[in-house]
Symmetry: C2
Subunit: 205 residues, 2 copies
């Protein structure tokens, strides 16, 4: 006969249970910020949705400003990961740019990416704002570099990389405001569609 | 000898002085909302910047929510005017669309247009929000119609007008977040540049 499982959690189990709870709190918070707006959401609202107490939220994530900062940092980390993956990818600049842009748009339709776009930086504390800008700059720098790579290998039209990056980022950030997760088109389909429109331009070829 | 000017204002002078004061209050408010964020700005801040009392602000514009609504309504009215001008214009669809988009981008870099973009609709009261959406829908409808006109006359690539309108609006809304009015490029130059990038696409022709 096997020995019965210990009724005590191992250190690893405790740690992963803690992580799961923290994730659940963060997900509930980001969804409420996105739905109702950061300023219109209290941590009491978040606690009520999860059926926990407000001190539980503080325990896992800190005060409301800190919760917001965790949300945007998580979204930005996803975007940076996508940028790094595209930078590491072999191939022509345009293909690497398109891969990155498609993933970028998808992330912006997901909870944490939406929060990055919907959050005006004036909502963050001065310290958090600095970090927020530094992370955003990483993404912007990566996008411009992919554009430059494509211009250099002739796969992207010879344009101003800074201005093109602004145009692309804007077009692919905006779904954070209009995308309906309950809609018929998936985020992946919308992302592919938008990126293809931006690559082709609206002037007939 | 000419008779001296009357020390009393005419009804017309009183009315235009009132309008000038109202405009000054609205301009100060929109600039502060854009700089500091709506939620971080109080009407006391706006009054202090103008060197007037808070009741003066109430007198001209009402409470803070009403002030915000006036700001976004003014911005949207400029966009609607631009849409109507392009609709009334003769010529090919693409030229009318480009004229509209360029003006649209310029307005979004100006005080009231920026406020339209920076304002999450959850900041507005339910009634104001409905009107805000109705006005935005007018602009969106006009943009899609210009796209359809261009597709019909062959001057615009045969794409999904709804998705193209989303992509264009996003790209041209985004300068509200990054445009620096003190920068070296004028809003008109940036607008022309962005619209040309969107017309050409980044794939070489």
């Amino acid at each position: 006969m096997n020995s019965p499982a210990s009724p005590f959690q191992t250190a690893q189990q405790r740690s992963s249970a803690r992580q799961a709870k923290r994730d659940a709190v963060l997900r509930a918070a980001v969804q409420m910020f996105n739905e109702k707006g950061f300023h219109q959401t209290s941590l009491d609202d978040v606690a009520a949705r999860l059926g926990v107490s407000k001190p539980t939220i503080y325990h896992y994530l800190g005060n409301k400003d800190q919760v917001l900062f965790e949300c945007v940092t998580f979204g930005l980390a996803q975007l940076i990961e996508a940028a790094q993956a595209s930078q590491a990818r072999p191939g022509r600049g345009i293909d690497r740019l398109i891969a990155f842009l498609t993933r970028y748009a998808e992330i912006n339709m997901d909870d944490f990416g939406r929060c990055v776009i919907l959050t005006g930086d004036e909502a963050l504390s001065p310290d958090s704002r600095k970090q927020f800008h530094a992370l955003k700059r990483q993404i912007d720098t990566a996008m411009r570099q992919l554009i430059r790579d494509g211009i250099d290998d002739g796969s992207i039209a010879p344009v101003d990389p800074k201005m093109l990056a602004f145009a692309l980022a804007g077009a692919l950030n905006w779904p954070a405001r209009w995308h309906d997760p309950q809609g018929t088109e998936t985020a992946a389909d919308i992302a592919t569609h938008l990126v293809s429109l931006l690559a082709q331009g609206f002037r007939p070829r």
